[in-house]
Amino acid sequence: MYVAVKGGEAAISNAHRLLADRRRGDRSLPAIGIEQIVAQLGLAVDRVMAEASLYDRALAALAVRQARGDMIEAIFILRAYRTTLPRFGYSKPVETGDMIVERRVSATYKDLPGGQLLGPTFDYTHRLLDPSLLTDEAVEAPLEREEAGEPVMRVSDILAGEGLVEDDGSLPNGHIAGDLTREPLEFPMARDLRLQALARGDEGFLLALGYSTQRGYARTHPFVGEVRIGAVEVELDMPELGFAVSLGRIQVTECQMIAQFKGSAKNPPQFTRGYGLVFGQSERKAMAMSLVDRALRAEEFGEDIVAPAQDEEFVISHSDNVQATGFVEHLKLPHYVDFQAELDLVRRMRREYEAAQNTDLPEAAE
């Protein structure tokens, strides 16, 4: 006998209890601490900070733990917290030229002011499983070089001297950088908003789009002018004081992708740039972002728009993984009212189809 389905409340609370149990796992093992996640799963924490647009390692690590290591879930948890925070001001633009550099490589110059610095990279590791990590073997302290005091000039500034690369461009006086978390999104977007959307966009999605430009879907002939990782100072103008004060340092990854441009009636032939800037250490994301940024500037340079990576509405509407995962996963919510309506229609169309088949038969015989 059917009785109207009840018990959603109990089901939810039991599900949450089971989830908490699975999150904790085997109780005979020590629970993983937030400090351990920050220290030993730093790149996971960085990705969560970057795509949640919130620079706080401890909160990001908490989100990673709460999400059982599911990155998009962790990003979502952190974003839902961020959205409740008041906005009390805008920092000054960070000066990446003054970065305390931990890694800096350029693919366009063999040597350059400030030098090449490999830093903590996977690039030349051999991807062999390391049995020493099965146990807690002692790890050597890193070697550090005395700071040379030489400024680590940005590659774009080196090329700019000759006028061979487009300059940074300028914004009208008094322009306040847009914020798509506070204002509704509208197309076409200004580049500041677009870069914000890319900076919080899904790493995998941008990686695939960036890759597609390399394989001929909107090819831009890119070179990594440079990629740099390090600490930059965040400063805030204090109206009461009349000068900017430092709020502290944050770690960022910046990529300047240099791309060819043949020139147009308005502009001489010169190199153009794609830009990537991401919280924490995330070279893959910063590079992919700079490729996509450059591809999205097609209209600005009068290039034909022929590929997905050049299509602003397509790219920006689908780059947000929290939105994407929500809408894809919502398909598991009940839809039986709509399904009932469709069922009714299909049954009706089936009856009509079968009736038509039956009436067709005698004609076929003739």
Binding site: M1, Y2, V3, A4, V5, K6, G7, G8, E9, A11, I12, I34, A58, L59, L62, F76, R79, A80, Y81, R82, T83, T84, L85, P86, T181, R182, E183, P184, L185, E186, F187, P188, E313, S317, V322, Q323, T325, G326, F327, V328, E329, H330, L331, L333, P334, H335, Y336, V337, D338, Q340, A341, E342, L343, D344, L345, M349, E352
Partner: protein, 294 residues
């Protein structure tokens, strides 16, 4: 880190500035019935697709004296309805009900209650894709232009093609409507059965699409006309049998599979309506008869 470092939440979760921003969008939406107003949708603590637009609208209009009802598929006890109701109880400590008549705000997904709504009530719809033209034209830049120019030919061609191919319009839910003779609007994925309830409703109807960042509205006493043709007038679904539990006719029914031998029963999708009728003594042919059982 200690728990004291975490922020506490405002009444109904959203901060007052955000609520003001959403209320402005709602006022604009009411002033231009059926027009989709962009708003700066926030990240809510439930996923996009779970009703974040509806939740933001509800959060923005909810006051301490409101009585809230939440339904999903017409039912108060579906998991997501339970979850959203619990959310507002937690963050706003507001009174909740399952009775349509008692509610001042009803948040819904996919249904309009069977009982006629009255003046002073607000129905908040959760909307996945607010743009009725989206599946004909994927670009927002284009569809906004089409609305501005009242260029709805494409929609009529689509409906005409349905008729040419099937002999009838093959849209069963999210059936497009024209509001106050101007904007074509998506009624959210409610079955077309519910479309006539929107017309000249005494209640205020608000629509929130969180992921797509749009709010739109149908003010009370507004014309809402389902698109059709003179020779193919709009029709709603009909059911062969009444509700198996309460015997109601002319209501929307859910099909429940009873066994693997084709056994089916049809019951009210609106659980409150069904319970109300059962307690008033109405009986369907499969009703659980308490007295008989005793």
């Amino acid at each position: 880190m200690s728990t004291a470092d975490l922020a506490t939440y405002n009444f109904a979760y959203l901060d007052e500035q955000t609520k003001r921003m959403i209320r402005r969008a709602i006022l604009k939406a009411i002033a231009i019935p059926g027009y989709q107003v962009p708003f700066a949708s926030r990240e809510m603590p439930m996923p996009y697709g779970w009703g974040t637009g509806g939740v933001q609208v509800t959060a923005a209009i909810l006051g301490p004296k409101d009585v809230l009802k939440v339904i999903d598929q017409g039912a108060d006890d579906t998991t997501n309805a339970v979850s959203i109701r619990a959310f507002f109880q937690k963050v706003a400590n507001v009174a909740v009900t399952t009775k349509t008549r008692e509610a001042t705000i009803i948040q819904t997904r996919h249904r309009i209650p069977e009982e006629r709504l009255t003046a002073g009530q607000t129905l908040v719809y959760q909307v996945p894709i607010p743009e009725p033209l989206r599946f004909l034209e994927p670009r927002e830049t284009e569809t906004r232009k089409m609305h501005a120019l009242e260029e709805y030919g494409l929609m009529h061609v689509k409906l005409y093609e349905d008729i040419a191919r099937n002999g009838h319009i093959a849209t069963t839910y999210a059936y497009p409507v024209k509001v106050e003779g101007r904007y074509v609007m998506d009624p959210s994925p409610t079955p077309k059965f519910d479309n006539p309830k929107m017309h000249m409703s005494e209640a205020l109807q608000l629509f929130g699409a969180g992921r797509e960042k749009r709010i739109y509205a149908v003010p009370p006493h507004t014309e809402v006309v389902s698109l059709d043709f003179e020779d193919h007038p709009f029709e709603i679904q009909t059911f062969d049998k009444p509700c198996a539990l309460c015997g109601a006719e002319n209501v929307y029914l859910d099909e429940v599979v009873l066994d693997d031998r084709g056994g089916r029963m049809f019951v009210c999708s609106d659980t409150d309506h069904c319970e109300e009728r059962c307690s008033a003594g109405h009986r369907g042919h499969l009703a659980y008869d308490k007295e008989a059982a005793e």
